[in-house]
Subunit: 232 residues, 2 copies
Amino acid sequence: MVKIAETAIAVSEDETGAERFDRIYCELRDRICLLTYPPGTVLSEGALAKEFGISRTPIRRVFHRLEFMGLVTIKNGVGTMVTDIDLKTFKQIYDLRKRLAEMMGELSPVEITPDHIATIDALVNRTRNLADKTGSFDELALIANDLQQLLSNLTGNAPLCEITELMYYRVARIWYTFLPQFGWDKAHAGQLNELEEIRAAMVDNDIRSVGHYRSIDLQRMLTLLGRLLAEP
Amino acid sequence: MVKIAETAIAVSEDETGAERFDRIYCELRDRICLLTYPPGTVLSEGALAKEFGISRTPIRRVFHRLEFMGLVTIKNGVGTMVTDIDLKTFKQIYDLRKRLAEMMGELSPVEITPDHIATIDALVNRTRNLADKTGSFDELALIANDLQQLLSNLTGNAPLCEITELMYYRVARIWYTFLPQFGWDKAHAGQLNELEEIRAAMVDNDIRSVGHYRSIDLQRMLTLLGRLLAEP
DNA sequence: TAAAATCAAGCTGTATACAGGCTATGCCAT
DNA sequence: ATGGCATAGCCTGTATACAGCTTGATTTTA
């Protein structure tokens, strides 16, 4: 979760080692994706160890995972730096994600349950409630994260889930960077539209269409981005 | 194997930390993929640390990477065990690899250079030389590894390379397990055929066909496997 | 005899001290 | 004044001792 305060509160007494690892990993990942740590930020093992009240060892493990996810670069003697993604790679990943989204409906799709519908309904409502809260890009990003997680669960092909998630988090903050440039109304309307389209497809138990809409939305992002880069 | 002796010799004096990490990582990965460590094998940090003449710390880092690659499972208090892949997951990954192979020719394909041709020629020759060396499944597997690496370099889409490689190594040993059941002649002829088809496509600078042939070969493997499982 | 509790041995997880690498600052020589 | 160099301070990398967990054998008890 994403809010730091909440996370701190949520720490249970009898937390196991793996749980703590996941908690800290998600925490740092979200800080990077929400630009709390913008690209170029130097993360110190020692400082974070002190913040979380543990030693450097588990923090190092989290760092190595973040490095594997492509979110940081670890350099001996220098530090651990939040990566910056160039536009070329960004486009490549979006191309890839478009294809992966379409696969979602084709490789081992799962039956859609009322739980799934309830989840997407909640996301639609959260987004609707943001209609007049101009500039709530953070909340928009959190909804996008949850949508990604929901869509991940719509295929029984576990490796495809993994890969989709990997690519999502690798570019999430770049998307977040450009969000304000689209303007609040456009960004909000776009996301609401995608959510409603996906919801409709889910109600019809038509996962192929879900993937199709997702793919269209990724293409839309690429088009918008290209226009933004051409204008100035 | 990756013979231990050779590896030991190959260690240069001024090896950097990252280089040593890669060396040990590749070594253990290959031992797992070539079934030197069959599924279920328990790997001990202490034992391997002693073998490589270092402490447990860097070995642990390698273990965590292997876990991320899906090749081992680390359990606190128990040990680090080589994973076993069920057939369902195996099929899912092959389905995924088929799609990824086709993307190779579509997403940012690179220009094929004489170097690439030389590499594929060498692989074809190595395979031809195995014609009458019945049972050299190890060498066949090593050639397959090198082919995978070559194909990875035929797309400029780096994330696609990563993912393709990830999925390859995750099922490599399962493929290797079934190889003897196909019989030497069939296994050898199949691989030689794939290599020659891919070579021809590369000579024509037709990466799309390269991916297509690769995809066909993956499908052939799935079909053969299905037949094997149906017979007994 | 059988079931339950105990203990021992092995493993990974953590903390910590120390070694090694990088960088910037400041001094010294030119 | 400036270029080169030494050095201090930070960082990550490594080694190691210890804590915690799991499992299976052993002993105890009903």
